[in-house]
Amino acid sequence: MTDYACQRTPASRALVPPLPVAVFFVLAAALASLLWGAGPVGAVEALQVMTGQGSEEARFVVMELRLPRLATAMATGLALAIAGALLQALTRNPLAEPGLLGVSGGSAFAVTLAILLGASSATMTTLVAQAGALAGCALVMLATRSRGLAADPVRLVLAGATVTGLLLSLTSVMMLADQRAADEVRFWITGSIAGTSLADLVAVLPSMAVAGVLVVIVASPLAALSLGERAAMGLGHRPGRIRALVVVAVALLVGGATALAGPLVFAGLVVPFIARALAGPDIRKTLWLCLPIGPGMILVADTLARVIGAPAELPLGVITAMLGAPVLLIIVRSRRMPAL
């Protein structure tokens, strides 16, 4: 029933041209991230490895360093893009972004606090990060209830950015106070997936799978909710339950991504923005397009982070900020803020 209604809306566009192009884009990005890196192993050598030849050293670099990193980047990008799209649909705010709204900040703060208190293990990090993200999400939902913030989408983002700044300051204080904590989170805190192992990724995967199931369950009701609370109730959905499920999914995704790559800002803003521009406002189509574009963007950003600064590496968060801030400017500058 809802499917029918949405296919007939004039703004919805076909998925067929953009989706295959996006899939091609992510494949190309994946290949590029295997071929180029900060080290001396270049494209030719990497290609030799992939065809089963190449030196021992090149094989190690490509298979043991770049391949796990590729997987981590794809998981991170996927999680952040989906979380961004969900959060934007939920708050009806095109600027709602986990990094900007303080969800990633809460996650990073929780992890640093846990390390400061003496904890240290991969699975613990994921759980704590997700708990922090859940607290951040709850704060955001609470904020949208307050009259001042609900009235103006831009005001919500500003409040979120302030909370993020506050949390990062407190995190810095903790890092200054405890050298061990600082050493553990120093590189991670600026957003980076350098040196992540497959074990980190495996620790995150179960919760990502749960989040995936939640997204599948919630996508259609969320599309109905975008027609308005009453319309959704008329179609047999319960808005309160939908919101709760979306918040849990976002928290699982952002917490997982933050545990992997640190608090990345703007990644969840750019991808849904592009997806909506290509596919129209229907959340289900946006989510479909986020599947390839999200991983693709983080792959491109990560490859850039390795290549621009070679032989050193830039933090991934720097690149996502550079890609994302202009998109923020575009959205804010547009005469009529694209309504959700």
């Binding site: 307050s146 001042g148 983002v157 700044g165 200054l176 801030a325 804010v332």
Partner: protein, 333 residues
């Protein structure tokens, strides 16, 4: 009669702020790893008494306290000017990305050349660029409301990313030399930058006072201001130039210390309530706030030293959130 009362209130507020600033400076000189008793403090300042105390007060703490007071005053005055021109009390240099851009340029000069005057000049350039961008992008939408602020947020994010890129590309020595700028700290001030700031602050303060009457009329709508004889474009350009000068020079000393420019004018406005733009009071409040924040940063986790920028951010953020959450804001939109 009311006019007289307002005058009295202004003078009382200014005197109170001067007293608070003096107290903060005295405490900042006296307290620390080596505590100097208050009677010893005067001796140490005038060059008598205990040699140890003399060294600590004159060589270590006095330059730092002065630098703190000067940067605080400069940030606050710049914030007050910019708020008035943009008619938006969130339009302070820290929030709309001007601090970050000035930092990016200053860091570029440190990792690039290493001439001692360059950071000040480069920070000025960065502040000017970001101001032009922020106000230019505001365009027809105007500077009221929150979109202007979010655009500034984007500019700040880009500038911050550029700073990180530069810091990660250079040798570790240069990166360490540039690091204090990225968090906002009085630790690594250079004497040259401080003296340049002192000169700039005097000039900026005088200019702001000369603009004072016109700035007062800017609090009304444009037609009213024009009817009162204000040449809008010229006043705006001059005030912004002043704000850029003050921000750039202050950043060159202490880096992007946020929230001073937001909190100090608010405090001054609450104390004065005269319908005038509280320029001097803002500067005094900013100086006092900065010196106090630096003192807290030094004492809180002693012997560890927290950068002053962290303290001001932690104090200022809840206030900013409170402004945003309140259903209607007094002088915004």
């Amino acid at each position: 009669m009311t006019e007289l009362l307002i005058q009295h209130r202004n003078i009382a507020a200014t005197l109170a702020l001067v007293a608070a600033l003096s107290l903060a400076m005295a405490m900042s000189l006296a307290l620390g790893t080596v505590s100097v008793p208050l009677d010893g403090l005067w001796d140490a300042l005038t060059g008598q008494g205990n040699a140890m105390h003399r060294f600590v007060v004159q060589e270590l703490r006095l330059p730092r306290v002065l630098a703190g007071a000067l940067t605080g005053a400069a940030f606050a005055l710049a914030g007050c000017l910019m708020q008035t021109v943009a008619r938006n009390r969130l339009a302070t240099p820290g929030i709309i990305g001007i601090d970050n851009a000035a930092t990016a340029f200053a860091v570029a000069s440190v990792v690039g050349t290493g001439i001692s005057l360059a950071p000040s000049a480069m920070a000025l350039g960065g502040a000017a660029t970001a101001t032009a961008l922020a106000f230019g992008l505001a365009g027809a939408n105007g500077t009221r409301g929150y979109r202007f602020i979010i655009a500034g947020l984007g500019i700040g994010a880009i500038a911050g990313a550029v700073t990180q890129v530069m810091l990660s590309r250079v040798a570790i020595d240069a990166a360490n030399a540039a690091f204090p700028w990225t968090v906002g700290s009085l630790n690594a001030r250079s004497a040259t930058a401080v003296s340049v700031l002192a000169a700039g602050l005097v000039a900026g303060w005088m200019a702001a006072l000369l603009l004072g009457r016109s700035l007062n009329t800017l609090q009304f709508s444009d037609p009213v201001a024009i009817n009162l004889g204000t040449r809008l474009k010229r006043v705006r350009a001059l005030s912004l130039a002043c704000a850029v000068l003050l921000t750039g020079l202050a950043v060159a000393v202490a880096g992007p210390v946020g929230m001073v420019a937001l909190l100090a004018p608010e405090l001054a406005r609450a104390l004065c309530r005269s319908g005038r733009v509280p320029l001097t009071a803002s500067a005094l409040a900013g100086a006092g706030f900065m010196v106090t924040a630096d003192l807290v940063g030094r004492l809180l986790l002693a012997p560890l030293e927290l950068p002053v920028g962290l303290i001001t951010a932690i104090v200022g953020a809840p206030y900013l959130i409170w402004i945003l959450v309140k259903p209607s804001s007094r002088s915004l939109t």
